[in-house]
């Protein structure tokens, strides 16, 4: 009976769960001064997961656990990228957490469980596993947002995130249950087959609306985006960084697994809905970002607008489109991690460095990191030759291919509006006087990794084929 479970396909998940328990136990016996062991163990865990995924990598779709679990090349690529993202998030977080007495084992455990949730979603073959993945990720994130108990802002935003997240989960579940009622299965591949024979799709569209609402909430797309600015702003910066990075991969995969694989036959319907959501996201994200003075908040709105772009690729409904969305997600994650990393770099005891004004005159203090931020901002704005430019080109090309020229034109227009607020950061760094003379206090590892991160934005833009080839391998 256990033969067809195909457990080795899920080796990485099993390994992760086991090591989470180990980390949890080891952490209990550590004194605060030895907390770095937890940190090192967490990074080792990620390396181990990567090793597992690589050694049990698959060339074609393989399912396990009676179809609940699916392993495919796309999953492998996304998982590897998630490990790297989480590892970088941990590395960036370390200095900040230590300085604020938040350097606790639970932080890393919660981060790893969040990663588990992402992996479950990546490998989901069944709506049930999709939902469990969503909840594993969300619950960890709620706890992480509230992690700093001294901060009332953090507690408040965690509360909002929790309640709204619960509502969204409810919508998602309601949609799933109706889908189940009509098709009689939760299995995504069976669902795809089953739905093709349903003649009148009114019930399906009804369920679809709820599912789309749930997915859009996880993405942070308008009008389900209201939590994004508050949570990004209220959470401790390392947590914001975390939320802004790896979960975006899971949102992407959530959309692809549920909409593209399961509800493939309803493409005409969800394309319409996603067009509305995408346009609203690009519009509201870009326009409201202009009025922000807080960098974290500005980046939150920028996230909303980037989500609009990712959705552009998904709504194309073609393999090219999914690939473009995947590429955009990767590009966005790299840029987002870097931008929040810059805030962590400048932050110090009693100074959050999360206002745009805190970047004033950075060029005087550290020309190199001003250049890194410049590259990140230019890339996020979509200026060639940085990676963000190619990402935008890819999704816009995908939309053009399915004949939505007006949508492509709108996307270009909004990215032009968006360029304004990124350039403002650059202007502040290079043309304004510094407000203080305190040097950057961050440690060597953070500096090194962040420098690499900044360079990656440039190098991957000059040599875009590296990442594009990876996406082609994932979605042939």
């Amino acid at each position: 009976m256990f033969d067809n479970f195909g457990m080795q396909a899920a080796a990485a998940e099993i390994f992760l769960i086991a090591t989470i328990c180990v980390v949890l136990l080891v952490d209990v016996f550590l004194s605060d001064s030895k907390r770095w062991i937890t940190y090192a163990l967490s990074l080792l865990t990620l390396a181990g997961c990567a090793w597992m995924t690589l050694s049990y990598g698959v060339n074609e779709r393989v399912s396990a656990f009676s179809g609940m679990y699916v392993a495919d090349p796309m999953g492998d690529v996304l998982k590897l990228f998630s490990y790297a993202t989480v590892a970088v998030s941990f590395i960036y977080a370390r200095d900040y957490l230590q300085r604020r007495a938040l350097f606790k084992g639970e932080y890393f455990v919660l981060g790893l469980v969040a990663l588990l949730g992402i992996m479950v979603m990546i490998s989901a073959g069944n709506l049930l596993t999709v939902y469990l993945g969503v909840e594993l990720l969300s619950l960890s994130l709620y706890a992480m947002v509230a992690f700093d108990r001294e901060s009332t802002v953090a507690a408040e935003s965690a509360m909002k995130y929790f309640v709204l997240g619960a509502i969204a989960s409810g919508m998602l579940l309601y949609g799933f249950s109706i889908m189940y009622g009509i098709a009689g299965t939760l299995q995504l591949d069976e669902l795809a087959v089953e739905l093709r024979s349903v003649e009148s799709p009114i019930g399906l569209v009804f369920a679809l609306v709820f599912i789309i609402a749930g997915v859009a909430f996880k993405f942070g797309a308008v009008p389900f985006h209201m939590w994004v600015p508050d949570v990004y702003h209220g959470a401790p910066t390392p947590v914001t960084l975390f939320i802004g990075a790896a979960p975006k991969i899971s949102s992407f995969v959530l959309a692809v697994r549920v909409l593209a694989e399961g509800l493939d036959s309803l493409v005409a319907n969800w394309q319409d809905m996603l067009i509305v959501i995408s346009v609203l996201s690009m519009a509201i994200g870009n326009i409201v970002a202009i009025a922000q003075t807080n960098l974290k908040r500005m980046l939150a709105y920028s996230t909303v607008s980037h989500v609009g772009f990712i959705l552009l690729g998904i709504l194309a409904g073609t393999n090219d489109g999914y690939r473009a969305a995947m590429y955009y997600t990767f590009a966005y994650v790299i840029m987002s991690v870097g931008s929040f990393g810059m805030i962590l770099l400048l932050a110090r005891e009693g100074f959050e460095a999360d206002r745009i004004d805190d970047f004033r005159g950075l060029n005087r203090k550290s020309p190199w990191f001003a250049a890194v931020m410049l590259m990140l901002m230019f890339s996020t704005a979509g200026v060639p030759p940085f990676i963000g430019f190619w990402a935008k080109v890819e999704v816009i090309a995908a939309v053009l291919d399915v004949g939505l020229a007006w949508l492509a034109a709108l996307a270009v227009l909004f990215s032009v509006i968006g360029a304004f607020y990124y350039l403002r950061v650059v202007k502040v760094m290079y043309f304004d006087e510094p407000t203080d003379t305190v040097d950057i206090q961050a440690g060597g590892t953070l500096r090194a990794v962040l420098s690499l991160n900044g360079l990656a934005v440039l190098v991957l833009g000059i040599v875009p084929s590296v990442l594009i080839d990876l996406c082609v391998r994932a979605l042939p």
Partner: protein, 209 residues
């Protein structure tokens, strides 16, 4: 076969009756002014749901629902509500202000849902969806167990992980040493020695000036 038809009718009547109570109880949860009343409405809702499970011949689930939710969760919930002594009036300040708008939107959603689910029957043919009766000696507890540990093993384990996560999250958010927080350490108190507390200082006798 009239017997079956009669039984079906009885089941339907019971279903609608308990469902009606369930809906009223659920409304009660969100409208009751007193939080204790709200919690009790919730208990009522759970009990009614359990009955619905029974009507579907899912006895195990019905019992578990009553045991776990009513017996354990809700009791705990009531304790907390009574301990916290929440000021009800303050919580409702925003409620009345936005009630009209809220009701309009809620009605809109209800109409939408009803028009699809009720009027259009979800666009699918539901008349044939009557499952066959269970065979003799069928135990849904056993069936559930078998499914849970075979077909649904993966989600089951993930759900376990979710519970572990909830524990970790709850502990990490509540059990935390705060700055300036004073705590008794019994072991340290017992192990204390006189030398630690009293220092005997020898002084030269002082003369009055």
């Amino acid at each position: 076969m009239p017997g079956i038809g009669k039984r079906m009718t009885l089941t339907s009547i019971l279903f609608y009756a308990f469902s009606a109570v369930l809906v009223v109880a659920a409304l009660g949860v969100i409208t009751a002014r007193n939080p204790v009343h709200a919690a009790l409405f919730l208990v009522l809702a759970f009990v009614n749901s359990a009955v619905l499970w029974l009507l579907m011949e899912a006895e195990f689930l019905a019992i578990v629902l009553v045991l776990v939710y009513v017996g354990a969760v809700m009791v705990l919930f009531l304790f907390v509500v009574m301990m916290l002594d929440i000021n009800v009036a303050q919580m409702r300040e925003g409620f009345t202000r936005y009630a009209p708008l809220g009701i309009i939107v809620a009605l809109l959603v209800v109409i939408e849902i009803a028009s699809v689910v009720w009027v259009k029957r979800l666009g699918v043919d539901t008349t044939t969806a009557v499952p066959a009766a269970a065979p003799e000696g069928y135990s849904n507890t056993q069936a559930l167990g078998e499914l849970l540990y075979t077909h649904y093993l993966y989600p089951f384990e993930l759900a376990a992980m979710l519970l572990l996560l909830a524990i970790i999250a709850a502990i990490s958010l509540t059990m935390r040493k705060r700055r300036g927080f004073k705590q008794q350490d019994v072991a340290a108190q017992v192990a204390v020695r006189p030398q630690d507390r009293i220092r005997i200082v020898k002084m030269a006798p002082e003369k009055d000036a």
